[in-house]
Symmetry: C2
Subunit: 87 residues, 2 copies
């Protein structure tokens, strides 16, 4: 078995913190309710992810770019649900 | 004015994606309801943040360590609210 490297650990971490948003997106669209989801959280988070994306492009890091591009789409989907079903 | 560096941008990004969880924590504890918050999201996210934390310690990056230590506390607070008030 290959030895674990910090880079592998970083990829696993980035994978988890990105796919984490999938069940949240599914939940708000299935229930058509986003009352308990914080608007402030998703506005701040999406803004931060845009900055991470610019950072990734600047330092030319494909994993940072990809993880944040996917996270941005998912976070904006939650924000859209909050806008439609604020509760 | 000092020129913007990628590192400054990274700090700004990390600050936003960390403090983003503060309004979410306040909202679920004030309303005592976390029905629309996805359990799966916060379990996966917290696990990923633990891995980011280990990654930060491994590569000896204080900003990665601090940002993820704070995020972990906030994400676990949301998870605690979900456990108490699942809705």
């Amino acid at each position: 078995m290959a030895e674990m490297t910090p880079q592998m650990l970083g990829y696993a971490a980035g994978f988890l913190t990105t796919v984490a948003f999938v069940p949240q997106v599914l939940q708000v669209y299935r229930s058509r309710s986003a009352r308990d989801v914080s608007l402030g959280m998703f506005v701040l988070f999406s803004t931060g992810v845009v900055l991470w994306l610019v950072y990734g492009v600047w330092i030319e890091s494909p994993p940072v770019i990809w993880a944040n591009a996917v996270t941005l789409v998912l976070a904006l989907a939650v924000l859209g649900a909050k806008w439609r079903w604020p509760g």
